[in-house]
Amino acid sequence: MLAVGAIAAVTLTACAEDAPQDTWQPEGENSTRIHNLQWPVFAIAGVVGLLVFLAIVWVVIRYRDRGQPIPKQSHGKPALEIALTILPALILVGVAVPTVGTLMALAETDDTECSVNVYGQQWWWEVEYPEQKGCGGIDREFVTSGQMVIPTGTKVLVSGTSRDVIHSWWIPALNGKKDMVPGRVHTVRTQADEPGIYAGQCTEFCGLSHANMRMEVVALDPGDFETWKANQLKPYAAPEEGSIAAEGESAFISQCARCHVVDGLDDGGVNAPEQFVYSRTAPNLTNLMTRNTFAGATFDLLTDECRERVWEATPEEFGERYLEGVTPECLNEVDLRAWIKNAPAMKPMYTDGTKLGPTDGRSRGMPALGLNDDQADQLVAYLLERN
C-alpha cells in the first residue's frame, strides 16, 4: 500500500497546474523541437519497457516451480539471438536519426537576429545587451539581472559564461540546458512565440544556494520591447532634494555602491566589487523596479496579488502589465527590507568574514550590512525610484 501510495503521489505531481518549468509545455521553436523528439522517444522506450516487463511477469508465472522436472537444457538459438540483436539496433537507429538532426538544429545560431550575453555567478545571472543592430537596434550597451527580456518571434543568440564555477542556463519552456563554464563562451538560441514570463533554474550544482539561483525570460511584443529598452537607457534621475529617497541615495553611495552599480550615479565613490565579492561583480540596480524579482530571481519584488496579475495575464495584456513595473502599491516591501537588512538570513551565502580565507576575504553573495530601520527605509525609497 505504501509503495502504491508513493507511486501515485509521484504520478499525481504531473497534474500540477502551477508548474512554470514543465518540460512538456514548449513555448518556443527550440523547445518544440526538443518536445517533438522526446515524446516519441519516451513512447518507444515506454512500449519496450512495458513489453519487457510483461515478458518477465509471464515467464515468472508460467514457469514457476510446481515440482515439475527440470527441462532439458540447451545452448543457443541463433535465429532468436540474431533477431534480438537486430531489433534493438533498428530501434536505436530509428531514435538516433531524429536525435542527431535535432541536435544539429539546436546548435544552429547563424540565423539569430538579436544578441544577449549572460554571466552566471554564485547565485544570480547578469544579463548584458551589447551595442548592436539586432534587437531593434541598441546604441548603447546596458546591463540588468535576474530577468532576460527579449522580443517575441525573434531568434535570440544567448552567449553565456561564468565568473566563478560552472552554472547551467535552462528555461525549460524555451530551450534545453546549456552549461556556462568559466573562461568559455557557450551559445544557445532562444525564441519565445508568445509574450509572457518563462521561468528557469540553474541546473548545474554550483554551491550553497544553487537551489536559489533562478532566472526568468520575459518575452514582450516588439513594440513593448522597444518601450522597455528605451526605459533601460533613460538618463539617471536623481531623487528630489530633501526627500527620503535623497537620503537613500546617500545611504546607497556609502553602503551599496562599493559593489552595486546604478548607471549615472558615477560620483558614488569607489565601485570596486572585485575587492569584496568573489565573482567580482554585483547586480546592476539601475532599473531594479522594472524587474519583478531580486536576489537571483529568488524573491518577488511584487506583492502576491500584483505578481498574480502579471503572471496570469493573457498574451495581449501581458506587455502592458509587465511594463508597469513595481509601483509603490505593488512593492513587496517586507522581503526587500529584510534583504537589505540581513541578506544571508534570507538566502544561504558565504558571507561570514571569519570563514572567507579561501577567497581572500571576498564574500560569495551579499553580506549583512548591519543597517538600521531608518537606513532601510531610505534605501527602499531610493530603490523604488529606480524604475
Binding site: 550575453n117 548592436q132 550597451e141 552567449s159 573562461g183 566589487p273 572585485e274 565573482s279
Partner: protein, 383 residues
Amino acid sequence: MLTNGSKLLLAGTTLAAVAAIVYGVTQDGTLGVVGLLSAAIALGLLAGIVIATRDGNVSAMDEAAAQTAVATHVAPEGNIWPLIVAGGAALVVLGLVTQSAFVMLGIGLLLIAGLQWMVDAWSQSASADGTFNRDARARFAGPLEFPLLATAVGGVVVFSFSRIMLFLSKTAGPVGFVVAALLILAGGFLFASQRSMRSTAVAGLTAFAALGLVAGGVAAGLDGERFIEEHETTGLLGEESECDTTDETHADENASQTVGNKAAIMADITLDAEGELTSKAPGQQASQRIVVGRGNPSNIIFHNESDEPRRITLTTGQRPLLDEEGEEIEGQTTPDQRCTALAEEGGSQLLTFRIDKRSAVADEAFELTVPGVEGQAIEVVVP
C-alpha cells in the same frame, strides 16, 4: 615479569599519557587531549592483555611454561638500530633550531630504525631456533623492505640523472646522453654475448655504473645548474608598460595558441591590408567597439592581414607605478597594458584579459590598438 611485547605497549601508554598532559597544558582545545588519552587507555589495555597472555607464547595458566618460554629467556642480539634512533632524535632536535629539513630526515630515520628494531627484537625471540627466527624476520619484513629500498634507489638514480641533465649545456646534453645510451647498449651486448657470467662480475659492473651515476649527480649538483636565459614574454612587456613596441620578443609565438581559449572568444579583431582595424563579435556586425563583461576572463583573436608583423595591445587607463620591491610609488602612474606577441603577416594571436573596472567611470577610454598603426583603435566597453 614484563614480557618483550608489553614493554613496547607500556612505553606507548606512558608516551601517550605524557603527550596528553603536555598538549592539554600548552594547546587550546580538548580534542587532542581526548584523542591522546584514548590512545593511552587503548595501549594500556593492550599491554595488560599481552602481560596476561605472556606475549601469546604460552598459556597464562601454565606457570611452568611461563618460566621456561622462549619469550622469557632468549636475549636479543646486538644491533645498530638504537644508534640510528638516537641519531634520528638528535637530527630532530637539531632541525628544530636550524632547518626543518633535518626534522623531516630525523623523523624518517626514527620511523625506519624504530620499525626495524621492533622487527628484529620480535624475530629474535620468536623461537629458540636462530634459522627459523631469521626466516620469520625475512617473511615479515621483506615485503616492506624491498619496495622501499627499490624506491629509494630509484629516487637516487632519478635525482642524480636530473642533476646531470641540468648541469650539461643545451648542446652537450644530447651528446652526453647519446654516449650514455651507447654505453648501456654496449653493456647489454656484453651481457647477452656471454654464455655465462659470474654474478660478482654483473654485480660489480652494475655497482660501478651506479656509483658513476651517483658521483656524477653529486658533482653536477654541487657545481649548480647551467645558465638558463630568462626569455622576455608578452606578460613582461605588459608589466613594464612596453606593449607599444613593434620589436620582436623572445616569447614563444605559439604560447597563446590554446585551443580551448580559441574556441571561446569574445571577438575577432582584424587588421586588414588597408590598415583598418575592425572587431567582429559572434552574432554581431563588425564595428569599432566591443563589449566585455566586467571581472570576467575574455579572449580575443587578433588577425594580422597587413604586410608587416604586428601585435595588438590593450590599454586600460593608468595604473600605479611600482618600485623594485613591488610597492606603489605615490603619485606616479604608467599605462596599464596587455599585449600579444607579434603576429606574422597573415597570422593570428590570442589575447586573454580580464578588466575589473567599469569603462564608464574610467579616466581614459579602454582601447585595443596596434603599435605602429596610427589612427586605428577598438574601444573596449565594460558595462
